[in-house]
């Protein structure tokens, strides 16, 4: 099947409820997700946007499936880079599993297109953001560099 995809897993010492909050509430997300702001009503069919600190829409899509605090599926189209916008919608899935004291977070990002530029770009960013998310939940502090929007983008 011609598609681009990655699956990332991290274990975080927290609860599913706290992790869900960290993934969806702007005051948490901006700390580990380079100061971006997510705007969404968090219900099925709702529009989802990820905005840069200067207000530009970086990525947008809609909520395909939402089951707090277990699963969230979003469509995702990049709006900052024309070659990525042209690829259309990718699909991001978070699955949160309780493993007794730790939560397994599985993040899948897929696009029905071989060698997708969007998938390549997000696959480079996610390991750092996930490590920062883990740090934020376990120590109260995100990792240096993940609390600011990168210069020049």
């Amino acid at each position: 099947m011609a598609e681009s995809e990655f699956v990332y897993v991290t274990y975080i010492r927290t609860t599913r409820e706290k992790l869900w909050q960290a993934l969806t509430e702007p005051e948490f997300t901006r700390k580990f997700w380079v100061d971006t702001v997510q705007e969404c009503a968090w219900k099925q069919g709702a529009t989802w946007t990820l905005k840069a600190p200067d207000g530009r829409v970086a990525d947008a899509g809609e909520v395909v499936e939402i089951d707090p605090p277990r699963k969230l599926v979003l469509t995702w189209q990049n709006h900052l880079f024309p070659e990525m916008t042209a690829e259309g919608f990718s699909c991001l899935t978070y699955v949160l599993e309780d493993k007794g004291g730790v939560v397994k977070l599985m993040l899948t990002h897929t696009m029905n297109k071989k060698d997708s530029k969007t998938i390549k770009a997000v696959s480079n960013g996610w390991p750092h953001l996930l490590a920062s998310l883990k740090s934020l939940l376990e120590t109260g502090e995100s990792l240096p560099g993940t609390d600011k929007w990168p210069e020049g983008i």
Partner: protein
């Protein structure tokens, strides 16, 4: 359990397991059969290596229909590097790595 560092180092301390990770990096989301075909190793040997990689969460699996697909999960390696690499060293280290790749002509493990 939580991205156990010992398990990660143990898993990486084998050329065959590193080769499996290389194969997944080149072509992510392979079945056991695909991985075996390219490894020239018995199914049993590859399964054993994959179990060690999965225990370290360096490989994660996902079902698509009846196929179990294997994916490279770089997150534990990233967490290890975060532990020892300082905020301002990242740029210099990546410049050094680029220089090495350029001078040596190709990537090697």
């Amino acid at each position: 359990m939580s991205a156990n560092v010992d398990l990660v180092f143990k898993a990486l301390a084998s050329p065959e397991r590193r080769l499996l990770l290389d194969r997944l990096r080149a072509d992510n989301g392979q079945t056991l059969t695909q991985l075996c075909a390219r490894m020239e190793r018995s199914r049993q040997a590859v399964t054993k290596h994959l179990k060690v990689l999965e225990a370290a969460t360096l490989v994660v699996t996902r079902w698509r229909g009846r196929e179990k697909l294997h994916y490279l999960n770089p997150v534990p390696i990233h967490e290890i590097s975060e532990r020892w690499i300082g905020k301002y060293e990242r740029g210099r280290l990546s410049a050094l790595a680029d220089l090495k790749t350029k001078l040596e002509g190709e990537e090697n493990g």
